[in-house]
């Protein structure tokens, strides 16, 4: 269960892209704005002969939640809101976990909302942050601060690279597993949510 913490962090940080982009853009997401894009994920698990690859689209709506739509290899949607997580497989609900079952979710929202507003203290409580400027962009390496923290036993490091937005996130685990997430075609939007997306958020927040 605690293993969920790592990917959640990843998601959180991916979603922070707009805030992380501050040095160049100085434009975090404004109220009413959302961030959309595509993702390519590859997960290397020890003992599996090939990486697990998936691609799809994501949408971050501050204050509402996150839609994570895998298109390949399966059509699944993950709806993450402060109320919890709902997983939809082939258009029907496969699993629902209320926030209270997901201890890390609260921490995740603390980090996310803090960082979106420029407050990194929630992240800094658990990680050392090494931020560097690089040609055409920047990088940030997060390392768990507390050795006895459950997160530390699951995470070795998180490396985030970006320019205007976060371009990629790489996570390394102590057991040798690692994964890489690339974010493509990201854009801000303040148009109203499509009815279908609205409906998805509503299912997660009855």
């Amino acid at each position: 269960m605690i293993k969920r913490l790592a990917p959640m962090l990843l998601l959180g940080i991916a979603a922070l892209s707009a805030a992380l982009a501050q040095p160049r853009e100085a434009q975090p997401l404004r109220p009413g704005e959302r961030l959309e894009g595509r993702f390519v994920e590859e997960r290397h698990l020890t003992g599996l002969s090939a990486p697990l690859n998936s691609t799809g689209r994501f949408m971050l709506v501050p204050g509402t939640g996150l839609l994570w739509r895998s298109e390949t290899p399966f059509d699944t949607v993950l709806v993450i809101t402060p109320k919890g997580i709902v997983q939809m497989v082939n258009g029907s609900e496969a699993q629902r976990l209320p926030a209270a079952r997901l201890p890390f979710l609260a921490g995740f929202y603390d980090m996310l909302s803090g960082a979106l507003g420029g407050d990194w203290s929630a992240v800094a409580r658990d990680f050392t942050m090494d931020r560097r400027a690089e040609t055409g962009g920047w990088s940030l390496v997060l390392t768990p601060l507390h050795a006895d923290d459950p997160a530390a036993t699951q995470l070795q490091s998180i490396t985030i690279t970006g320019s205007d937005f976060v371009d990629a996130v790489e996570i390394h685990r102590p057991n040798g597993d690692w994964e890489r997430l690339a974010f493509l075609d990201q854009k801000r939007s303040s148009a109203p949510l499509a009815p279908e997306d609205r409906r998805l958020f509503d299912t997660a927040d009855p």
Partner: protein, 778 residues
């Protein structure tokens, strides 16, 4: 007479010495309020199981420590927990939960993973919908929340154990572990949870006081460090202590007012202190003898029985006042003459009152038996003191200052006698009857113990805030599951859980906690393993492994790994509370408790649950409610019984014709007081009924005093009745002001009953003129 006085002195002194010896020997008064209630249960094992669960629930306290600063909340929470631990008031305190608690559960449960299925997954496999589990797992593995590493995917390919663990019941669903502390944010505040199991009985007054004193000191220290701390508390001990504190404060106020009032009254009427000493002597000797007798008979005495018993002995004041008022009659020059004059009245009064008190023995409340013995012995002893000692000590001459007093006291008699008062008389009777008639329609009964308690509103506000913030559902109801062995109990629980799920779907209950929710029976685990093998592994695993690229796919352990038992849950596990649900074994039976919360329709639950053999729904509050109802009805019966028992005495003295007027005041007081009290919106409870027992005795006293008196002594008798009425109102009537509902109902009934009995008491008197005796009977 002198020998009798000395003999009585010896006896009272002996009683006093016995009492002193007992106290020096270290006898303590019983303070456990539960001891006042009769044992409801006849089955001893069930009663023991109920006591065990009740102790488990009652001794638990739940505390939320909140602050704007997460750090400050955590510091205060840690300090609170440490201080509670050190205080020695708690058996166990829980604050920090192991950060790897869930991982440790995972490790302990891992070998048995194929036998552990959530209700949903079990249904899916039973209905042949295994592919749903496959699809869900694939989506998780590929998805951004991928929780599995290669090793886990090889050994638990469909992630059944993580799913099982994620669906374990949580008593406080809104709390989340935050760096090893269960926490929750609510608005701007962060709360941390501290729970403790007390090591004393929360209903024992001594423990209550010790605990609250300790707890308050800790709270004060915390507030010094963090002034804006919010501390929410929940626990029987807080309510019990607050209730006892209110009762204590009220009792001291009422005692002082009653005591001072009585002294002032005696001084004002007799213009001397001697009558005061004499009455105190009579009451005091009664209390000493009663106390000694109870210790000798019962080996102990409950503090409530003591207080109540002393109040009942207080009625002997009425007899002393009859005797002392006789000093206002110049015709009776010596104490002996005065005693001779009032003796028939007070003897009959004592006789009927004793009958009334002894009738309390018929009520099977242990406390009431003590009260009955205490008050009967005390009353008898006071009476002997009055007979033997008072005339010897009371040598004074008749009082001459009472002329105006006697005229005033005699007015009530004239009101009932003089033809000129006919119109107001009729008006008064009509008014009382109309009011009683209206009250009759508003008369309701109430036995619900929850409404009879005056729960502190401040604590209730804290409780509801705490429940809202943590998601902890309330409830004192539980279910006992009995079977021949532990696994049989788990199987019974499984049958029960299906039905409770149904009750939950119907909205009859919010939640429940049972061992079988975490540790399924052996039979269920075997069934689950077969389902997983036949309907999940066999049809889907090969393709699944290919899809994920698990090449060296070691097939999941086929060999029976044994079964998960409660023993796998260690005492430091976050699930260790489950061990508390196993009750002490008895008579070759295993008993488990299933805790219920948020029960809205107990009858639905009882109907569904008790269809399962070995299952019994227990509702402790409801049991007491039913009991109070039963004894309310029994108390009404007791009144009828004691009236019936008094009747032969009255008949023997006055004959059939003379008896009827004597019955008027008791009948009016007992019959009209309940509807008149109902007018004030106070329902009829067991406590009103108990007040009526007292009202009956007093009404008989007043009636007999008036019936026995001579026409020339009437104003003197009436003065005594006046004094008796006022002192009764001073001692009992003040209880009507209490905020404790039971006491309030008791006091109010006494006020109304006493006043009614007093006002109509002259009706009993022998006719002086041509007033027909039966004139006021209707």
């Amino acid at each position: 007479m002198k020998w009798a006085a000395l003999a009585w002195l010896a006896l009272v002194l002996a009683a006093g010495a016995y009492l002193a010896w007992q106290f020096l020997g270290g006898i303590a008064l019983q303070t456990d309020l539960m001891a006042l209630l009769p044992q409801v249960e006849h089955d001893i094992t069930v009663q023991k199981a109920k006591d065990e669960v009740a102790a488990l629930l009652n001794r638990r306290i739940v505390l939320l420590v909140g602050n704007r600063s997460r750090e400050r909340a955590r510091i205060a929470g840690a300090e609170l927990a440490a201080a509670l631990q050190q205080s020695g008031l708690a058996e166990s305190v829980t604050y920090a939960v192991p950060t790897d608690g869930l991982r440790r559960i995972g490790e302990a449960f891992f070998p048995y993973r194929f036998g552990l299925l959530t209700e949903g997954d079990r249904a899916r496999l039973q209905q042949g919908r295994g592919q749903e589990i496959v699809a869900r797992t694939l989506a998780s593995v590929f998805g951004p929340l991928g929780i599995a590493d290669g090793a886990l995917l090889r050994r638990d390919p469909f992630l059944l154990l993580p799913t099982y663990l994620a669906h374990l019941p949580q008593p406080m669903p809104l709390l989340v572990p935050d760096e090893g502390v269960l926490s929750v944010s609510d608005g701007p505040l962060t709360y941390v949870l501290v729970t403790a199991q007390l090591n004393g009985d929360p209903f024992a007054l001594a423990f209550q006081d010790r605990f609250i004193a300790g707890f308050d000191a800790i709270e004060q220290r915390l507030r010094q460090a963090t002034p804006d701390l919010r501390l929410l508390r929940l626990g029987a001990v807080f309510y019990a202590q607050a209730g006892a504190a209110v009762a204590n404060r009220e009792t001291s106020v009422i005692s002082i007012v009653s005591f001072v009032g009585t002294i002032l009254l005696v001084l004002a009427v007799f213009r001397a202190l001697r009558p005061l000493w004499l009455t105190l002597l009579a009451i005091g000797s009664g209390v000493v003898c009663a106390f000694a007798a109870c210790l000798w008979l019962f080996g102990g005495l409950h503090v409530i029985a003591l207080l109540f018993g002393v109040s009942l002995i207080g009625i002997s004041l009425d007899y002393c006042l009859q005797y002392l008022s006789a000093r206002f009659n110049p015709a009776d020059a010596t104490p002996e003459r005065r005693l001779y004059r009032v003796l028939p009245g007070i003897t009959l009064g004592i006789a009927t009152t004793l009958i009334g008190y002894v009738t309390l023995l018929l009520a099977p409340f242990p406390g009431l038996r003590q009260v009955a013995v205490f008050s009967a012995v005390g009353l008898a002893a006071s009476f002997i003191t009055l007979l033997i000692w008072l005339p010897m000590l009371d040598s004074s001459r008749p009082l001459s200052h009472g002329r105006r007093l006697l005229v005033a006291a005699g007015w009530l008699w004239r009101f009932w006698e003089r033809p000129g008062y006919r119109r107001p008389r009729v008006l008064l009777v009509a008014m009382v009857l109309v009011l009683a008639l209206v009250g009759m329609f508003r008369l309701t009964v109430e036995d619900d113990v929850r409404r009879l308690q005056a729960l502190s509103p401040e604590l209730r506000a804290q409780e509801s805030a705490l429940r809202r913030i943590t998601g902890l559902a309330g409830g004192t109801e539980f279910i006992l599951v009995r079977a021949a062995d532990a696994d049989g109990a788990l199987q019974t629980e499984e049958a029960l859980l299906d039905r409770l799920e149904q009750a939950k779907a119907e909205g009859a209950i919010a939640g429940f906690q049972a061992i079988a929710q975490v540790v399924p029976s052996v039979a269920r685990q075997r069934e689950n393993r077969a389902l997983v093998h036949d309907r999940l592994i066999a049809p889907f695993l090969a393709a699944y492994d290919r899809q994920l690229g698990i090449a060296d796919g070691d097939a999941p352990d086929r060999a029976a790994p044994g079964d998960l038992t409660l023993a796998a849950i260690t005492p430091d596990s976050p699930l260790s509370f489950l061990h508390q649900l196993v009750l002490a074994p008895g008579a070759g039976m295993v008993t488990h408790a299933v805790l219920l919360s948020g029960v809205t329709r107990l009858d639905t639950i009882s109907r569904l649950a008790e269809a399962v053999p070995g299952v019994r729904v227990v509702d402790p509050a409801g049991d007491i409610t039913r009991l109070l109802g039963q004894y309310r009805r029994r108390a009404v019966l007791l009144i009828a019984v004691s009236a019936a028992l008094m009747l032969p005495v009255i008949l023997w003295r006055y004959g059939p014709r003379g008896t009827v007027p004597v019955l008027i005041p008791p009948a009016i007081a007992v019959l009209l007081a309940p509807p008149l009290v109902a007018l004030a919106g106070v329902p009829f409870t067991f406590f009103n009924a108990m007040a009526l027992v007292l009202v009956l005795s007093m009404a008989f006293d007043y009636a007999v005093f008036c019936r026995e008196t001579d026409p020339d002594h009437r104003p003197v008798t009436m003065l005594g009745v006046w004094l008796a009425m006022v002192t009764t109102l001073l001692s009992f009537g003040l209880l009507g002001l209490s905020r404790v509902f039971a006491v309030h109902a008791f006091g109010l009934t006494l006020i109304v009953g006493t006043l009614l009995a007093f006002v109509v008491s002259p009706v009993t008197g022998e006719s002086a003129g041509n007033r027909p005796k039966m004139q006021h009977k209707d």
